[in-house]
């Protein structure tokens, strides 16, 4: 009997059922899309902010200048506690050289570095490290170096030496010389424009400093500094220190990296780190507000549409009462109807919302999104709860009315 009533209710008034279904599906879609991206957006934004450049500088701990770090320690950066937060790093070894090209001569800086080096660390995913990853604002005319004797030259230096991609530069340090083929000219608007960048190995042998680097720039995902993060770790108790060490403050990630690089000292680059923290905090709270707003709105939309549909059906309820149905039976019919519509709406809404989240993520961040597993049951169950919450009040009111009065109109 119950099933026959339900079946007829769906088949006899398809438009009304469809409208309620539409409203539930759309509400569930907004909720799914928002919950799906809300968590990801803060991560994606943090990654986006990494394009401002490295936020940690590693240098030899000797304050007097000079001193070196060991190149063999570099892979250890990918094995530290915060390894998943470290999005890239690049070593540098620099020396002052006589640089000459097309008959002109200058004293200038030669930097040995990694451009995009495939790094394989046992037990870790292989990764690509180097300038290309951590300094996306570099504007290279020509191409990046590939062979050991290729180099890119800063735009200002290139202008003075009157050299273009394809030309050769000779560098000389303490009697040793090395010829580089210039394959690109780099414009940054900063001091990089005054330097010649060549592969690390070549510069190491030019400087006779095999296996050594003078600085490492590290780009790491960090959390905004708060009052606790600003405390001096030296004055912390053991518990406090542990909490500090296990929070990805830029200072604790720096400390973490410092520990694996022998003889090093890590400094946060505050220009990048402090602006980033503030910006992330704000973007995250905007996202949080928008999510609350969207969830609230979709819940209201769903429950009001249920109310509207239920309120218009009091004659039906009255008729059922008049032919002898008890409250329980009537409730069972209407709640059952709502249940079926909202489960179907929840499933469709989830699928649509998942696609929406994917589209947003693709258009804005050029990346795919993996929606968490808990989202599916959450979407369905919340669609159900909201729908039932919306129909209970009008149903109760309808049950209270006298059948005669309603049927009379």
């Amino acid at each position: 009997m119950l099933f026959r009533i339900l079946k007829n209710s769906f088949l006899k008034r398809p438009k009304a059922v469809f409208l309620v279904f539409l409203s539930i599906a759309m509400g569930a879609a907004v909720a799914t899309a928002f919950l799906g991206i809300a968590g990801e957006v803060s991560h994606k934004m943090a990654l986006e902010l990494r394009s401002y450049g490295a936020n940690i500088l590693l240098e030899p701990s000797a304050v007097e200048g000079g001193g070196f770090l060991r190149e063999e320690d570099l892979p250890k950066i990918k094995t530290v506690f915060w390894k998943y937060n470290i999005t890239g790093f690049t070593p540098y070894l620099f020396g002052i050289a006589d640089i000459s090209a097309s008959g002109k001569k200058e004293r200038g800086i030669v930097s040995g570095t990694w451009f995009s080096k495939n790094l394989e660390v046992p037990g870790e995913e292989p990764s690509v490290q180097g300038i290309k990853g951590i300094a996306p604002w570099w504007d290279v005319k020509g191409r990046w170096p590939e062979a050991a004797d290729e180099a890119i030259i800063g735009a200002a230096l290139a202008r003075r030496l009157n050299i273009a991609p394809g030309g050769d530069v000779a560098t000389m340090i303490r009697g040793r010389d090395q010829l580089f083929k210039v394959v690109g000219v780099v414009t940054t608007g900063g001091y990089e424009e005054e330097q010649l960048f060549a592969p690390l190995v070549t510069v190491q042998s030019l400087l006779q400093q095999q296996g050594k680097v003078s600085r490492v720039l590290v780009s790491a995902l960090t959390v905004p500094m708060d009052e606790f993060g600003k405390k001096d770790p030296a004055t912390m108790s053991k518990d406090e220190f542990e909490k500090w060490y296990c929070t990805a403050y830029v200072t604790s990630v720096a400390k973490n990296v410092e520990e694996v690089m022998a003889g090093s000292r890590a400094k946060p680059i505050w220009q990048i780190a402090s602006a980033e923290g503030a910006l992330l905090k704000k973007l995250n709270s905007v996202m949080l507000f928008l999510t609350i707003l969207a969830l609230g709105a979709s819940a209201t939309a769903v429950s009001t549409s249920l109310m509207a549909s239920m309120a218009e059906r009091s004659p039906e309820i009255a008729l059922m009462k008049a032919v002898g149905a008890d409250r329980f039976q009537i409730s069972a019919i209407f709640i059952g109807e709502t249940l079926i519509i909202s489960v179907a709406g929840g499933v469709i809404g989830y699928l649509v919302g998942d696609q929406l989240a994917g589209i947003i993520s693709r258009t804005v961040f050029n990346s795919t999104i993996a929606s968490p597993l808990w989202l599916f049951p959450t979407a369905i169950i919340s669609a159900l709860i909201v729908a039932i919450a919306g129909s209970v009040a009008p149903l109760r009111r309808a049950l209270l009315v006298e059948p005669v009065r309603v049927l009379k109109g």
């Binding site: 009304a16 409203s23 450049g53 220009q271």
Partner: protein, 388 residues
Amino acid sequence: MSMNRRRWLIHLVLRALAHRKGRTLLLLAVLAMASSLATALGIVSYSMGKRVAEEVRKYGANLVIIPETARLDVGSGGLNFGVVSEPTYLQQHQVEGVLARSGLKAERSFHLRGALHWKDADIMVEGVNFAEIRRLFPWWQLKGDWPAVGETVVGNDLAIRLKLKPGDTLELAGKSRMTRLRVSGVVSTGGEEDSLLFLALQELQQALGLDDQLTLVRLMVTAGGDSLKKSAADLQLLLPSAKVNEVRQTARTSEGLLAKVKLLMLMVTAVVLVSAGSSVAGTMSTTVLERSKEIGLMKAMGGTRWEVMLIFCGEAAMLGLLGGLAGYLLGSGIAQFITRTVFASSAEFVPWFLFVSLGISVFLALLGSFGPMISVFRLDPVRSLRGE
């Protein structure tokens, strides 16, 4: 249509709304909800662009001016390995004049780099205006106080090397005279500032005998993209003896970030509006759909399609207008609350959003009543009155 008949129609609409208070209130609430959502999201995204643009300015200057023959010596982080050339200078009064004349909206800071002698060694020092530094370099981590007259701030690394702490005094010898300075604080930035000593620009100019000379000017121009490029080109024309450079690390990255934030807000707004909108139109339709009896009665009493349509659309439009007005007020409040909480500044007052809000609300109300009405019209009045 006679005046009388028109008044009768308006009367009918009002009575219909007043008679079913519950339904009217429900629809009003739903329409107000949708349009307040539109208003809030619209205003937040609209002010988001500006607020985030302000935030990214904390990454520092986007233009630098240096003497034409000088080497570039700026940037963030540890890639600066020192300069290997003779210093050259900019004329301070000339730069000031040009900046005033160009009408450029920009924050600026003047810098003079040089060396002073202390205890058999040369120390790299920089003359700055500390008020400018506090605005343009918000990332300075200062232990101690900002300096007053006759005081200095020492970079963290230099302080360790020279064993200096706040309160110490040192006598520095320049080319033309001695200066006595008291250390007021120690600064760390993770950049080149860590190994410099900072003092007031004028004091350094006098000590070095370099009145009116600067080595570097940093500008934070309130513009991005092409207009930043244009500002740089304009300044370059006015300052032929200098180089004006765009700092790509801050300028370009900020531009990319802003574009992403705006796109994200746009998409989020679109998703919410389309889904909430269709849900609201659905609710509206539900209420009209259940009124086939009423329509049948009107037709049976001799109302033409046009008149019935007018009554229903009038009802929807009135609901839409009221809902839109309420939605605008509520939405502005929500937007105000969000920007106040997040950015600690009030949202922009955007009056034309009232029309957006009203438009959306009326559109949804009409959209919701239009579809079912068409199908109800096809019904035979007799059959719909019989409830079939």
